[in-house]
């Protein structure tokens, strides 16, 4: 990772932070409804892993905390924000919402709301890649608490058994909503759980994007070279409540403070400043540019975008005019 990469990533991370903070405000203004799960604190995870992978080429799937994963894959932030605003111009045409961002053109295969649901879907995408003979890999990002679902174990077993090209990322932010990991999970280190399926696994600092990148590079190379699945655990922390409806009263202030000192954005910024690659002023200039983009392009686009047409309520339930529903040969209809 050279200095230019890091500077670019600093902008991406600032963008991710400001984007999510703006979502928070828009939610408070009631422009965004429903469940809203934000990403501040965890930015280095999605950005660092995808920096080591091939965004738009590799297939990515995740849970409901999905905005930044989608954007890093190549989704237009305007379409993501418009989706949160429930507009027809949203990337899921206003039918999905915050938890269901999709951009299949960039191979972002969706955010899913059922904890653990994407584990087997990712294995299945990897199976498809294997059958078709491509050099893509499937990457599944989920939280620590998702690892207690049966789908985790079922999927890891099959992925290992069939040597599927799938990379599982555990973003371990220590909590599943309000339940701390030591109260829900018998094993503290999540990467260790992969060994029961013979899957190589590693743990890395999820707050330092360079550490994430290097760990992910090893993981991605392993999977892409046909050696089968890999699991990477990233130690991280979310700076807000689980979702907007979470009062966040269950975490002790000392813990929040400690993790606050390990802000991925500040870590990267300070690295760049220490290396003399940027100055404080540059940082503020980037920040201003990011905020301007959000305020002058993304928000107006989303606000002015059209609402879905109620006449199209029943569209997308089933395929349109599928010839095999009433094939010419056979049947009496």
């Amino acid at each position: 990772m050279n200095t230019d990469d890091k500077k670019r990533l600093l902008r991406e991370m600032l963008f991710a932070r400001r984007f999510e903070e703006r979502c928070y405000e828009a939610y408070m203004e009631r422009k965004i409804g429903g469940f809203l799960h934000l990403y501040p604190g965890q930015e280095a995870c999605a950005l660092g892993v995808m920096e080591a992978a091939r965004p738009g080429h590799d297939y990515v799937i995740t849970g409901y905390r999905d905005h930044i994963h989608a954007i890093k894959c190549g989704a237009d932030p305007k379409a993501v924000m418009a989706e949160l605003f429930a507009k027809e111009s949203g990337c899921s045409k206003g039918r999905g919402g915050s938890m269901h961002i999709f951009d299949t053109a960039h191979r972002f295969m969706g955010g899913y709301a059922l904890v653990g649901g994407p584990f087997p879907l990712a294995a299945g995408m990897a199976k498809a890649i294997q059958l078709k003979g491509g050099d893509e890999i499937a990457i599944c990002f989920l939280g620590d608490a998702a690892n207690n679902q049966g789908s985790y174990h079922e999927s890891l077993n099959m992925a290992a058994l069939w040597k599927l090209p799938v990379l599982y990322i555990t973003e371990n932010n220590l909590y599943g909503i309000g339940t701390r990991i030591d109260r829900s999970t018998a094993v503290k280190d999540q990467y260790k759980r992969a060994c029961s399926y013979g899957i190589p696994a590693e743990q890395a600092d999820g707050q330092d994007i360079e550490a994430v990148y290097h760990a992910a590079k090893v993981a991605v190379d392993h999977v892409r070279s046909g050696k089968g699945p890999y699991l990477l655990e990233l130690l991280t922390y979310r700076y807000r409540g689980h979702s907007m409806s979470d009062a966040n009263a269950y975490r002790c202030k000392d813990e929040e403070k400690e993790w606050g000192k390990r802000d991925p954005l500040i870590i990267l910024r300070d690295q760049l400043i220490a290396a003399g690659a940027i100055g404080e002023d540059d940082y503020h200039a980037i920040d201003k540019a990011v905020i301007d983009e959000i305020e002058q392009e993304i928000i107006p686009f989303s606000e002015n975008a059209p609402e879905p047409d109620v006449a199209e309520l029943e569209r997308y339930v089933l395929a349109e005019n599928d010839p095999w529903v009433r094939p010419a040969a056979g049947g009496q209809q």
């Binding site: 295969m109 199976k127 997308y316 529903v325």
Partner: protein
Amino acid sequence: MAEMMYWEAVRRAHDEEMARDPLVICMGEDVGVVGGTYKATSGLYDKYGPERVIDTPIAEGGYTGLGIGASFLGVRPIIELMSVNFAWLAMDQIFNSAAKVRYMSGGQLEAPVVIRSPGGCAHQLGAQHSARMEKVFMGIAGLRVVTPSNPRQAYGMLKSAVRCNDPVFINEHELMYNMKGEVPDEEYFHPLEGSEVTRQGKDITLFGYNISVHWCLEAADELAKEGIEAEVIDLYSLSPLDRAGIAASVSKTHRAIIVEEAEAPVGVGAEVMAIINEACFFELDAAPVRVSARNVPIPFNRTLEKAALPNPAEVVAAARRMLGR
């Protein structure tokens, strides 16, 4: 046209579709080396290999989800759930992933997966192997549900389902795999929507699906002896149900009995009755009736088990009552 058994028809559809398209695969417990609990995939493992005829671990949610994920990338998996009772373990993936992904992605992504499974009651398999789950699947928007009543349908529907871009659940029956019937020699595609007039009649309509079509036909034979001409409609598509076909037959006979192997609550009969109410209420000469299973877990004892399930004699009795005989 050759006679073949139901399982042979299902097997033939697999074989033809897999030969045509290398992205058609099949998967499930014991579908490979064993060839399927009901032989529906026999011989395919040797022909197409372990990459495409996949013996899965016993992990219904996991491998169903895996099949759905593969279908996102254009693979066409035919997933066999060994028994419909085990489908509950896969329900999250069927309901939350396969059926909803097209909608919640605004039409970007689809899950063209086929899930087939034997349902129904066989003989003394007990409460946990006797579920009739069609009513559960029918209530899921975004999922097609078909239920073949004979080998021709079993063959032609699987062929269409593999090619259709929607997720399709095919509800088969434990007792019907050895049933014989004619299947066209040439390639044949059965519709996934609609219904079939299996027997013409003018006095009363008997609606059946899957095994209960045969009970309806038996009952119609019996009623014919008494001069009652019963029409038998095969509701081979349970989702969507054929509103027009249901209304057309009731408008002709003015009387309807729905025969279902499942318990009455929230079932096919309830749904067909609602359609009749909505579509052709004023055509009715009598209130529609359901002949359904009793609302109990299926008992092991053979006498109790038989008593829990409907049969042709009950259909005949219901028809006589309706016609005032």
